[in-house]
Symmetry: C2
Subunit: 513 residues, 2 copies
């Protein structure tokens, strides 16, 4: 068969260093994770991609529960008048709102199907749910005794995209949005930070991606927020991707929605609210952080399948024996617990030819591949390949020992991916003190490959929007975050290299998705 | 405090026998499960209601996986032209389609926020996803080797409702929809039946609701289907609620979407497809099947909390001791496994007064309530109340024995609810052979309470739509299902009492939601 030829030296064409954006699309296609739909800007998430999302949901949800949050569900539709309640909010989202205007279809005089029954008030499809959830909270909150409200929602949202890119920027995407109300500013600020910490733990320990965490500058804040905290990851083209945000909303949305309570002091007060979210965009971040020129590379904790067993059955007479051994091995592995759940094992019994099957699983990024053929039955060994190592690398492991080593192997892959990502980030993060060096750092040597530039710059800033704007205009570089003052990032006063003015601390600059 | 007075004899006003529809709304409100939203026809599912849905999802999803299905996600939007592809389908759904016509908001000359940027082709919000999923399947299926495709989707759908009723009929609702493609008609029919069986097992063993299963008559079929299989449950007002449907779609949707494959025989063939779904409507069914005049009654398998411990702390000096004992007991219970997961225990430490706290949990339907006060510490007993028994009933159980009995108690409640529901159904299901008796059976004695009528009738039918239509017009009674011919329901030829014509078997007639 035509497609059973030996794959090229790398399974993905082009390679990362040839054309990073196209490589990204091809990794997704080769892994059968997702594809663009005929509806402009929307995607179809195929089982392999959705399985990754389910694992992310499941693990993050447990962290939300452990911090006292419960899930609920609010309407998809937001009346136009609700959107208008918070001025900055509607200004921020007006350009990307899908609007429902009719509630019926009919066949017109020309036999064409057309919208009918116009609505009295058009409905916006939620781009985010502060205003619609706020309307409920206003009813639920009467007294300080009703606080805090700690609720999360898993749902789809719609933000009309002019330049969609699969997973990273799609018109419809899946996400979670936490919405909380508190009695005091202090509590709400603590919640905002707590949820950022939850995200940071999840992104580091589950997705194997190290991040910079901090605060957004005013220009990059969520529309309507007082403060936006964020995580910023570096991916392999050295650009930044935002990996979760947590917003302190002050009393802005409480005023807009009328969330008021009878305080301990006997006065009427507005609640202090927060919101925080992460989305299917993180799947794109995982791909760009870990995949290689042979396809997807999955952190074991979020892999839908941890181990694939590839029985090699060249001869009919040994076939049954090989398959039986594969099933026995699968059973042993499935009885093991990796990170709170059974190890997921697939035995690929298809008659496709070992090479072709092997390459399919490489491209899907399965952490461990185990080849098992008639000769292995004789020797008692199986050939084990780790996806974080070169695809040809194999280790012979006695079949009887594999179950005993499987969890440690998966943990080792998980750790190795994080170490590799950290190495990449550290290598391409530079402390910069002069404007010239800064501009050179962000100017690609080859204009055909804008992705090959410096990376993250830690540079001083005078705190003004003017400097931000100039640099964005010149280099398409923005402040990704203003790190928190802590032991890891102690404040270090200095001089802004762009204005010569004083600066309280270095901030993180980068090109971003 | 005003609201700490002893509740009335029943916690819900009105009682079931006074006003069933209003009782239903009040049970939902008292349990804080859900509420209507300001967006007409849409609901807010509060944490207690959503927790029930999460348990249902989790358990049903495991059954889907065990039968080889995987989850995926397809776009919310369906181009108008896709809807039009299957004639019966668009005719069935045209009257209830929410239509997106604009992708932006702007402020008009009068300062009013209005829809802007009209779309070239309007988009329908999915009322069900056969057509949009079919477009993907047409790309994925080339050869018989690509079959079967066994995919499920958990998502929100929108069907514009003129007379919404919370959970039972809402404009937006949550559901799952399975969509499969098969090589042969036989396989697709087997899949359709298999998934109905999965639903029946789930509804019976998890929701404690017995059902009639069978086939829909032509007039009640899913728009575009060749055959619709369904489950029909009787609730306490003796009406029927459909609790899951499974459709054999023949090649209708494959033709409409172009799902074609190269067959084993070398020919091009259309695939055979199925779809099947159940929704948040089932939560309404659970309420109507099990709740009583004191509020919700939850089958333990889907209860978000299985046991609530109510510490009674009248005196400050024994408070710490009582709370410590409550926490210890909670820890023992949480270590137990009920139906594959830890027992969920809540210790209600609020200073509200024991009576008020107790009534809150009664109204929420928690299966087991455990009261623990200073005197119990001395006696070593706790007072245990089962929600399936009268609210005043208590059993004294030695504290040291409760953990050993908890699982059995939960299982006993689960079984008792099913037995009770079965008893109700059997009591109000009657074999009827004359038209007069049939009409009398379905005519309420008191026209102010239309819910007090006979129940389900097993009567013969000549197989024509004319008879169905006449009876629907006269009595608002329809054929809920045509039972399968099996050992439980052997075919029994007879005479249709409405037409005098021959009938192959009895069918199930009822008023329905």
């Amino acid at each position: 068969m035509a497609n059973q030829t030996t794959p090229a030296k790398t399974a993905i064409t082009p390679r990362r260093d040839e054309d990073f954006p196209e490589w990204y699309q091809q990794v997704i296609r080769a892994a059968e994770m997702a594809e663009p739909s005929d509806v402009r800007g929307c995607m179809v998430i195929r089982p392999w991609g959705y399985g990754i999302w389910e694992n992310m949901q499941h693990q993050l949800d447990a962290m939300f529960r452990a911090t006292g949050h419960r899930n609920a569900y609010f309407p998809l539709f937001i009346p136009l008048s609700y959107m208008a309640k918070e001025a900055a909010h509607v200004e921020g989202f007006a350009k990307e709102c899908a609007v429902v205007t009719h509630s019926r279809l009919e066949v017109d005089a020309e036999g064409k199907l057309v919208p009918a029954s116009p609505l009295t008030e058009p409905l916006v499809i939620r781009p985010t749910s502060e205003t619609i959830i706020g309307a409920s909270y206003a009813k639920w909150v009467q007294s300080y005794r009703d606080l805090p409200i700690l609720i999360n929602q898993w749902c789809n949202v719609v933000r009309w995209e002019m330049r969609p890119r699969i997973f990273l920027r799609t018109t419809e995407f899946l996400w979670q949005e936490g919405h909380t109300v508190h009695e005091t500013e202090e509590e709400a600020r603590a919640e905002t930070k707590q949820m950022l910490d939850v995200y940071e733990t999840f992104v580091r320990d589950h997705l194997a991606i190290p991040v910079f965490s901090g605060e957004k500058s005013e220009s990059e804040r969520f529309p309507g927020a007082v403060q936006t905290l964020c995580l910023e990851a570096m991916v392999q083209d050295r650009k930044a991707i935002q990996a979760g945000t947590s917003h302190f909303l002050g009393q802005n949305f409480a005023r807009a929605s009328g969330i008021q309570f009878h305080s301990r002091a006997g006065t009427q007060e507005f609640g202090w609210t927060t919101s925080w979210g992460m989305s299917t965009r993180l799947i794109g971040t995982v791909i760009m952080a870990h995949a290689d020129d042979d396809g997807l590379v999955l952190p074991p904790r979020i892999a839908p399948t941890h181990v694939v067993i590839l029985p090699i059955t060249p001869k009919e007479e040994t076939r049954a024996q090989v398959l039986a051994a594969a099933d026995k091995l699968a059973g042993e592995l499935r009885a093991l617990n990796f990170f709170g759940a059974p190890i997921e094992v697939e035995v690929d019994r298809r008659d496709l030819g070992g090479g072709l099957k092997n390459w399919e699983w490489i491209k899907k990024g399965v952490p461990l591949r185990v080849e098992l053929g008639p000769r292995d039955l004789e020797s008692g060994n199986v050939a084990v390949s780790r996806r974080d190592q070169p695809v040809k690398a194999k280790e012979l492991v006695p079949m009887a020992e594999l179950a005993g080593r499987a969890v440690a192997l998966l943990e080792s892959i998980q750790e190795n991916l994080l170490a590799r990502a950290k190495q990449l980030r550290d290598k391409h993060t530079r402390v910069i003190d002069s404007k010239e060096e800064f501009y050179r750092f962000f100017t690609p040597e080859n204009s055909a490959k804008p992705e090959i530039h410096g990376g993250f710059a830690l540079a001083h800033w005078n705190g003004t929007g003017e400097v931000e704007e100039q640099i964005k205009k010149d280099l398409k570089v923005t402040i990704r975050c203003i790190p928190f003052d802590d032991s890891q990032n102690p404040p270090e006063p200095g001089v802004c290299p762009f204005s010569g003015q004083p600066s309280a601390r270095r901030v993180v600059w980068a090109k971003s998705y």
